[in-house]
Amino acid sequence: MNRQYCLISLFLLCCGFFGNAQTDTIQRLDTVVLNDSKLVHFSEGFKLQTLSDSILDNHTSLTDVLRFSTPIYFKENGYGMVSSPSFRGTNASQTAVIWNGIPINSALNGQTDFNTIAPQASDAITVRSGGGSVPYGSGAIGGSIHLNNEMVFKEFSETDLKLLYGSFGTVEGNFKTKMASKTMFADVHVNFISSENDYEYLETDQKNENGEFNRFNAGTDIGFKRKNHLFTWNTNYFLGKRNFSNTITAISRSRYEDVTTRNLFSWKVFGKKYESTLKVAHLYEQYWYFANRETNNYDGGRAHTLLSDYAFDYKLQKDIKLSFNANYTRIEGKGTNIGTNTRNTLTFFLMLHHQVTDAFSYGASVRQSFLNDFDNPFLFSADASYKVADWYTVKANGSKNYRVPTFNDLYWNAGGNDALQPESSLQGELSNVFHFGKLQLEATAYYIHSNELIQWRPNASGVWMPENVSEVENYGGEFSATYKTSFQKHDFEIQANYAYTKAFNVEKQKQQLYVPFHKATGLFTYTYNRFQFEYQSYYNGKAFTTTDNKGSVKAHSVSNIRTSYTLGPKTNLIMLGVNANNIFNTYYENVAYRPMPNRNIQTFINIKF
């Protein structure tokens, strides 16, 4: 299957039958404002993949969105349960999640659970591959996922309402309304999903017990423009209630609840040669873990993050942009097992972008933090982009990145080790982008060398504690293609990705856990007038589950079909559709002994007015 899939991918790539979802730069119209300006102005030599809102709308979780459209591998502890990424073979806390320019990985465990992010809450999600610690801080080693809300300053209003009902008692609702003028923008979005999630485990007489979940997410984004001032406020509230499901061999009685809130205020002043941005943000996270859902005994933790950030972007010459940044972050964490602790970090970073010619540009940046108890490494990054020909652009970047120890690593009782140092990584990447008419191809090679990796293991008295011990080398190749064409009223679009990932522990000379060597994704869309048919599929190669590489989860591929038809006048569109997921009824696990859903159906209605 593996070989077959690769061959097909290769064949399609060679025939130039594919296209690519990536766009080199995000178009920045004056009327569209993004808070994550570093992504727009200082990432030219990096590989960016922006997922459109149609892709975001097609899935109920960020895990599914990214699993079907990027090379990232997800370890999902049963459908809808805790889900963590492996980006270019790195571990779960080495992917940074950035919300409107602000890093939001948990201060407690350093990760984002990708099943706690509602994809519909964002207008665009960009996957930035490679090191990003200079602009985005801790954890941007494999890459970073950018959740952005766009503010559009023009006269318009639109409202979207979507309702979905499907197998395993799944109900989803989405509401998003936007209204704007030339000086004001506001949106409100609400999303909920609830599921019994009691799918059968194929090939057994078991089913997914204790897997019920529901999630609620709501937010608003407001902006005002006054002359050369822009004030924005982004806010998001998330509440998740989940039971944690069984495995094949272990029953579960646990329940987990978590809340996050995010608030971001920003004040931008635009000058002729400068742009000044002051941001103040507050992030809150809290969780309750009930080992037995029937009881009220729980372990919990919470953290407040207060962040203030000032950026001064200056146009030194027509072609040279500089960005001076100062950031002060204070985190207060408290929990059953971590006591009460705080962390203050003061950071300065400087970024430069020089557009030497129309075809050639480069960037360079440096970062230094202060105040932390652990060492604060000096970080740097350099990138370049050169358009060799109309059809060919080459991009390169290299950087030093880090991941700071989390509150759990430092303070967990028992085992927390306050002598931990940050993990550090050096990396480089080379990317080739080809445009042949409607076909776009991209081929990227990268190398990451990480050391001082934090690993929990038993100490002399048998207590598990984290230490800076392991060293990992990652390298790989990524190929992607997109192709769009249409004749008469028939539109076709094909997107494909293939990634080869090697991530090996230097001491053991073995592949890291849950990093498949091969992953591929494919998406085919056919549109005829108001009818749309979509086929999406991914392939995960075999992934090891033990450090001696003896145990593994099997290679598998999963395919979904989606068809829809739109009714009504243009001002009042009604889309009716059906999703058929895992159409070949494949048994698969992406974490050992945690079967994923069998074939299932969802119907939906989407009203726009």
């Binding site: 495995t247 272990a250 080992a291 005994n297 450090t547």
Partner: protein
């Protein structure tokens, strides 16, 4: 792949069979072998917590063959999650899968499944048989300190017939005549008791206070030696480990030897009148008649399970806890490592089948 694996096991089994029968040829009427797993010992491998299965490794007494995952090989199914321990009764072996809350009953010589006990078990830990009754210590809900118990099993029907409520964290259990001695290690917390259960009435006859965290016991003569780890560094108050001698004639503590406050020994085992235990990655030994604790170690190594048997020390090393571990065998006279055998993930207990 599976077929290949099974063929391998078949080959190994055949080899075993052949070697057994060639040995037996010297005797005039060879007894029929009872099964592939007769002449050797088992290593219980916990397996990964939550996402996987525990396994049993079989090793021939002369180390001439090793068979991994024998339950899966014979029965084409998993034992269950976190294989904590094993026990025997007549021709059956009882395999305790803690996190699956069950006990698998197999023929101890063929490993063919005979029954699965699930009803009445909640976080089962250890098994011992007295007469036709089995006794299984249970934590109950691991996060509730007041629902711990022993399940009494009718071994003729393999069903739980009654439960005996116990204080927090019953763990190891030893039968002395018709009495059971249950060490209350304390589950996720700490406790300091030995419960004595009269199996003729299935009631607790007395409770003996020992040191904190009694984690292992051996019986020598009529003395029960209890090794207490002491409360660990992360407990509210850290306490010293201790070695406690309990007279089973009077059910009272007859001697106590105390370690340093930061010393937390474990894995007590014995051979003849010699006790063996581990402390901070070292194995120590002392004679039961010794007046003080030993200060020099005999073997170095971080072990997860340890059993002294016929002049050898069998010790398991769980390595990184995420890959196959190792069984090491030392000659107790010379302290030389004689064998190093790859076993399963997180190997713990070692159980001899003869």
């Amino acid at each position: 792949m599976k077929i290949f694996k099974q063929l391998t096991y078949l080959l190994v089994a055949t080899f075993l069979f052949v070697s057994c029968s060639s040995d037996d040829d010297a005797i005039d009427s060879p007894p029929l072998p009872l099964g592939d797993y007769e002449a050797g010992f088992f290593v219980a491998n916990e397996g990964p917590f939550g996402t996987g299965t525990g396994t049993i490794t079989f090793v021939a007494n002369d180390f001439s063959s090793v068979s991994q995952s024998i339950y899966n090989t014979v029965n084409s199914s998993d034992i269950g999650n976190v294989v904590n321990s094993m026990g025997f009764y007549a021709e059956s072996a009882y395999i305790v899968a803690n996190n699956s809350h069950l006990v698998q009953v197999v023929n101890r010589y063929t490993f063919e499944s005979e029954a699965t006990i699930t009803d009445g078990l909640d976080n089962p830990r250890n098994f011992v048989a007295v007469g036709d009754k089995g006794y299984i210590t249970n934590w109950g809900d691991a996060f509730v300190e007041t629902d711990d118990y022993i399940a009494v099993v009718d071994l003729l029907t393999n069903t739980v017939t009654e439960t005996i409520a116990l204080p927090l964290g019953p763990e190891k259990v030893i039968a002395v005549g018709t009495n059971l001695y249950v060490a209350h290690q304390g589950a996720y917390g700490q406790n300091n008791l030995i419960s004595v259960i009269d199996t003729t009435t299935d009631t607790v006859s007395t409770t003996i206070t020992v040191g904190d965290v009694p984690n292992s016991m051996v019986l020598i003569g009529s003395d029960l030696w209890v090794l207490c780890g002491g409360a660990p560094s992360y407990a509210t108050v850290e306490t010293a480990g201790s070695l406690v001698k309990v007279s089973t004639a009077t059910n009272t503590v007859s001697a106590t030897m105390t370690f340093e406050v930061t010393e937390h020994p474990s894995l007590l085992t014995s051979e003849g009148s010699d006790l063996y235990y581990t402390l901070n990655g070292e194995v120590y030994t002392m004679d039961v008649a010794a007046a003080t604790l030993p200060t020099t170690s005999i073997i170095s190594g971080f072990f997860y399970g340890m059993t002294a048997h016929n002049g050898k020390l069998y010790a398991t090393d769980a390595g990184d806890y995420a890959s196959d571990g190792t069984l090491k065998v030392y000659d107790l006279a010379t302290q030389v490592e004689e064998q190093s055998i790859t076993v399963g993930i997180i190997p713990g207990g070692i159980y001899f089948n003869n």
